[in-house]
């Protein structure tokens, strides 16, 4: 895990320290990480190409923000892509991965019961990551994870926000159902369940935004603030 500067800056966004719309000041980032502006600029440009931040000539880069329509489209796209990964995984998953998938679901059961939000977020990453790997297609995996990355500032909020009591059990049950289909080799069904899973995530997210519209530290959809 060589923590590149790009990764460090991305982490600021993924960990929620920088929220959609926030500016990335080259000078302060440089100071914060003990380097000069040059490597910071290069890292920011890379994040711009990955779609995590928005780069505007002569103006500070800002964390990419989506309006409602863009969020809907992003989730629709991710649903399709994840569905493809899942159906491929159902046909191609190897024995080691099958074992790991079973273990993951068992752990997830426990996490859900304990209502451990941060563990649940990590579990979510691992579950989907495993399916990406099992799709036996590096580009599918790359596409899925790039897409996931872009909306993380929003989707992670579901797990991250303290005090927000979204249901942790529903995503767990959906993961379990998908895993069952994958393990049974039912490609079509795995894809369908995955699509529904992502669609459900969008609905939860929209509900979350309504519920927390008052709170100030939640990521806002574009046009909501200032």
């Amino acid at each position: 895990m060589p923590h590149t500067l790009r990764q460090k800056i991305a982490d600021l966004v993924l960990r929620g320290e920088l929220k959609p719309g926030d500016r990335l000041d080259e000078h302060s980032l440089a100071e914060q990480f003990g380097v000069s502006r040059t490597p910071v600029r290069e890292a920011i440009r890379q994040l711009g190409a990955s779609g995590l931040v928005e780069i505007r000539p002569r103006r500070s880069a800002v964390v990419r923000s989506f309006d409602q329509a863009e969020l809907n489209e992003a989730f629709e796209a991710m649903g399709e892509i994840e569905a493809i990964c899942a159906s491929r995984a159902a046909v191609r998953m190897n024995d080691a991965e099958r074992l790991r998938l079973r273990a993951l679901i068992a752990t997830s059961e426990d996490i859900s019961a304990r209502t451990d939000r941060s563990a649940a977020l990590e579990m979510d990453f691992e579950f989907h990551g495993l399916l990406h790997d099992a799709s036996r297609n590096w580009m599918l995996k790359a596409v899925a994870e790039e897409t996931r990355l872009k909306i993380t500032p929003y989707s992670a909020a579901l797990y991250t926000m303290e005090g927000y009591n979204a249901d942790l059990d529903r995503p767990h049950r959906q993961h379990a159902a998908i895993a069952a289909a994958v393990l049974a080799g039912e490609a079509e069904r795995a894809g369908m369940l995955m699509r529904e899973h992502i669609a459900q995530a969008l609905i939860s997210l929209q509900k979350f935004f309504e519920d927390t519209a008052a709170q100030s530290d939640a990521p806002k959809v574009k046009g909501n603030t200032r």
Copy 2:
């Protein structure tokens, strides 16, 4: 079309002046475009994040190259993504786009008859681009075009290489069939035809590589050269 430096360097790759495996020398690129190394480096990093070039610490960036397995996976992924775009387009395309699609196919008919390779390449871009737009989903469009970008150094060779007599009529007929399905609103069928179209492109490409294995200026699959 504000030709950014990033775009200019990308064009070198897309136009085939830089082939997979070729090094991108910061100094000579800087000289070539009349700027210093700093903006060149930033552009290269961006292209690295887009997956068009490969960046290795302390070593020159090189144009991304794929081995046979990676190419297969890339085309499989692209087939799925383009299929989704096509089926969405079949349901969501508006009247202006329908008109344009018809015109495109008519022009394509002519291009195919005249065996105009460079026009055919442009047509290919426009056809798929139109479907991306008509999917009414910016992220799907972004994903499709990023994926397409990565394999362009290989797929464009089919059209670019002088003297290689690949069939121009087949892709045209496939485009026409897809267009018909889209215009008829047959989402399922449009997606299926698109998947087959991309699969066929891979087969043609593999054939192309076999045929031109001797020629030195064709892009090679990783491991073939040096």
